[in-house]
């Protein structure tokens, strides 16, 4: 086995293992903390794909900021850990059926796709290339996203200041 394959399997195991903790743990703080290794595993996969810039952003935004936001929200909520509250309902059978159907669909799609490698070479310096693509071909998407973010920011301020 090549080093790359070993790295891939280790990273995949870390990502999936901590993902499993995220969804199965009864303690919400444990779930939120387990997001960090899950995000870092995904970061490793990005690095294996030579997408260093995306990897850096993944750590900065997801592992560093989103997790902190989630932890912050849980800790500010009454009964924080969620250990005392009921966490399952009676829809287990329906849920299993939907999950199995979804899994079957994904497996069929994943095995039938050719996965041919794209042509062309990687740009030597990805941040520059990403910036070019944001401000040239994808400018409309980029500006649209910034408007969405601006609106959510204004919405947050509006909700937070309602009592005045």
């Amino acid at each position: 086995m090549s080093g790359e394959a070993i790295a891939f399997y280790v990273l995949a195991a870390v990502t999936l293992g901590s993902g499993l903790v995220v969804v199965t743990s009864k303690n919400m703080v444990h779930s939120a903390a387990a997001l960090v290794p899950a995000f870092l595993g995904a970061t490793g996969l990005y690095i294996l794909l030579n997408a260093e810039f995306v990897a850096g952003i993944q750590v900065l935004i997801y592992a560093g900021a989103i997790t902190v936001l989630i932890l912050f929200a849980i800790m500010l909520t009454e009964g924080g850990t969620g250990l005392g509250s009921r966490q399952r309902n009676e829809q287990a059978v329906v849920g299993t059926a939907v999950a199995a159907a979804m899994a079957a669909l994904l497996i069929v799609v994943a095995t039938r796709t050719g996965w041919t490698a794209g042509s062309g070479t990687l740009p030597p310096y990805t941040p520059g290339a990403i910036g070019q693509s944001f401000l040239r071909q994808n400018i409309l998407v980029f500006e649209g996203t910034s408007v969405v973010l601006l609106i959510s920011l204004m919405g947050a301020i509006l909700i937070a200041r309602r009592e005045d």
Partner: protein, 326 residues
Amino acid sequence: MGWIWDVLRAIVGTIIIFSAVAFIAVMFGVLLERKISAWMQSRLGPKHVGPQGLLQTVADTIKLLQKENIVPSRADRLIFASAVIVVPLAALLDYVVIPFGTTRSGPLIFRDLNIGVLYFAATSSLVVVGILMAGWGSNNKYALLGGMRSAAQMVTYEIPIGLALVTVALMAGSLSTVTIVNGQARLWYIVTQPVAFLIFLVAATAEVNRVPFDLVEAESELVAGYFSEYSGMRFALFQLGEYGEMFAMAAMAVTLFLGGWRGPVLPPVLWFVIKLYALIFVFMWVRWTYPRFRIDQMLNFSWKILIPVSVLNLVVTAFFAVVVHR
């Protein structure tokens, strides 16, 4: 089988970074802090262990190693124990992209990543996860308050730090730390970017939770903040994370604004160390000179002053870099 060598090199590199940070940054840093605070308050400071008290922190570390490890009975044991690993690890990761000097075969750096500055911002933002986990896991109201304050503070001050980093990256035209140092061959960026330097210095002080931004561990209100419940070596590891982070921030400021290893006559590594300790002295000088901010003052300062100023600075820099100098 080249990858085995890569793994071995990574392990050796980790050991080197850990021991260098533990001895040079933390042990010597704590001693320096005590000596400088003593000097500023007309005291003598540690004087008995070793010549002029030089071995005081070594003795303290050995003492901490022998202490009992106490876990509060109602603590969340898993979170409590893993927080100790996250904080120093995040601080140690910062050192991968810092160029310490040059040798004949190129710059002295663990990895010259082409996303160096972004990597630094990302790893230094991981510290706050560990602090929140420590605050929560201790199951202590003071620790939790410290963790909460830290989260608010670090999320707030990450923005001006990020904007200062982007401004410098814009000047150098690259995110790589080596290219940034090479871009300062003629003129240090502190001359062309004094505002960004000040913003970085202030926000870095806040990021590493030092006075006047040390609300996270304000002794008079919160005992010791998020690490109130930690004892023995776990306490020492938090100190390692904190001082390691401070030295990393100072090293980054040297790299970004003070020309990194560049300087006349003396060897490059020595220049780097001189600049690093000059900045560390500034951090300590501020700590023993100013009183602590209130939490609302601190948050207002970042949102209402630092962030607008750094955005303005970025816009002006971008204008000059793209329009005037082209």
